[in-house]
């Protein structure tokens, strides 16, 4: 019995929080507004504290690799754990201003920034090879997509204007007007998806984010 109460109570709590937020917006009742503000502050504190939770979870996965000596993987996991612990300790030496630690700042400025930008850009390679080997106008959909895409590319790249003066105008039309109906429709469809997801959450049906899989 306790298990059922514990479970259902959580969904009721979620629904109450959702309703408070909605009432606060449409009715502007000072008392509700104060509660909503407090709940949003709590949510911010919880999210902030959960930042470290993500790290703990991933370190747990990698330490299992090290314990089990998973072939070809465990030494990379050990390296990951070492870097995590080393940089964490460096940062904790001056938690109020970690960058004051010269080694921490050096690692941040040169390794983190470079790796971040390098990783983020890797898809550029894949787009180039896919453009050559896979982007085919196999049907009307793909044909329209590729034509609009090429025209927008010729508008974005300054050389388009050199090739033909009207290219930026044509590409500009697709970029400013041509894509509007589709993007506007995606906004409308996404809004309804959010409302439906919220409705199912209100009635305790959406449980994926609690770690329970699928419908209850």
């Amino acid at each position: 019995m306790a298990e059922v109460v514990r479970r259902e109570l959580v969904y009721v709590l979620t629904a109450v929080v959702v309703i408070i937020m909605i009432v606060d917006y449409f009715f502007a009742v000072p008392a509700i507004s104060a509660i909503a503000g407090e709940l949003n502050t709590w949510a911010t504190v919880i999210s902030t504290m959960a930042l470290t939770l993500g790290a703990v979870n991933i370190i747990r996965v990698h330490s299992r690799n090290v314990r089990k000596r998973t072939p070809g993987v465990w030494y990379h996991s050990a390296w990951l754990i070492f870097i995590f612990a080393f940089v964490l300790l460096l940062g904790l030496t001056n938690i109020n201003n970690p960058s004051a630690n010269p080694i921490y700042k050096w690692i941040f400025d040169y390794s983190y920034v470079s790796l971040g930008q390098t990783w983020y850009a890797i898809t550029g390679f894949y787009i180039a090879s896919a453009a050559y080997r896979a982007f085919r106008a196999r049907n009307i959909d793909a044909a329209l997509l590729l034509i609009a895409g090429i025209l927008v590319m010729l508008k974005n790249a300054p050389i388009g204007e050199v090739i033909w003066a009207q290219l930026p105008v044509l590409g500009g039309w697709f970029n400013d007007i041509g894509q509007m109906p589709a993007m506007r429709t995606f906004l409308i469809v996404a809004a309804f998806g959010l409302l439906a997801f919220g409705f199912r959450t209100l009635l305790g049906r959406e449980r994926g984010f609690y770690g329970e899989v699928g419908g209850g």
Binding site: A43, N96, D176
Partner: protein, 275 residues
């Protein structure tokens, strides 16, 4: 050799050959710049016009929700916008939802010399990091001090002259959000619509498509498309910078992709006609 085998052999080119060609093509314009003119889109024009309406002492928030990994796309626009805000003598409050946002703030200050004539804590400030997605953004609109009790170096917020009388969205004249993800949606829903605060988006190029309908609906007064938007803003304020240089290498990379798509489809048409 019949024509079909040419397409078959072209198709069997190792993908790494294409990667090397691309990486080399990207480098050439940095060594020998083409410096072609950049045409300016209406979204950049309304962006600068919106900034020019600011009066001395107006408080502007710059929300950094793009990481250091997106510097090539978002930093040039942030630098250009900061220059205009300083020219308008506005007071600038930075804050960030990225753990490396202070790096972006310090890089902006480094790239905008005019900051040296200003006083930190009086003319501009960086309040630091916050997380929590939409609840945090909603609470910032209601009570900034419930989210930021200090600036990013730990100085209590009430010891910062710039923050005197700045408590909520009602005290902020404009928000500029730099995004790689959804934070602009949160500022639309929790700042722009409820409080009417003018809002503009500095986004990676993909975000331009997503926020174009909001610009046309008048919800956003400006949208920049990554490095291209940065180059347009730089041209509008007459201060060519990093984005203008990047535009050169965009030419060669885009030509490669376009030629690749055309070749792929010529080959596809040829092989289909053979079947």
């Amino acid at each position: 050799m019949s024509q079909e085998s040419i397409w078959d052999r072209l198709q069997r080119i190792d993908r790494r050959v294409i990667y090397w060609i691309l990486f080399i093509l990207l480098m050439i314009p940095f060594i020998r710049p083409l410096s072609l003119p950049v045409s300016i889109g209406p979204q950049s024009i309304t962006f600068i016009e919106g900034l020019r309406k600011l009066k001395e002492g107006d408080v502007v928030v710059i929300n950094i929700s793009s990481g250091v990994s997106a510097w090539p796309e978002c930093l040039p626009s942030l630098v250009a916008v900061s220059k205009v805000l300083i020219q308008q003598k506005a007071k600038i409050i930075f804050w960030t939802s990225f753990v490396d946002g202070h790096m972006t703030f310090e890089k902006i200050v480094e790239k905008v010399p005019e900051f040296k004539k200003l006083t930190y804590g009086v003319d501009y400030v960086h309040l630091g990091f916050y997380t929590g997605a939409e609840p945090a953004v909603a609470q910032l609109a209601k009570n900034i001090r419930s989210i930021f009790t200090t600036d990013y170096k730990g100085t209590p917020i009430d010891q910062l002259p710039i923050m005197k009388g700045v408590n909520s969205a009602n005290d902020v004249k404009m928000v500029i959000s730099s995004d790689t993800g959804d934070y602009c949606d949160y500022y639309i829903r929790q700042w722009r619509i409820p409080y009417g605060v003018p809002l503009a988006e500095i986004g990676i190029a993909m975000n331009f498509s997503a926020y174009q309908p909001h610009w046309q609906a008048g919800i956003l007064f400006g949208v920049t498309a990554g490095a291209r938007g940065g180059a347009e803003l730089e041209k509008l304020i007459g201060a060519p910078g990093d984005a203008t240089i990047t535009m050169d290498s965009i030419n060669t990379s885009h030509l490669l992709v376009i030629v690749a798509v055309i070749l792929a489809n010529l080959g596809y048409a040829a092989t289909r006609r053979r079947k």
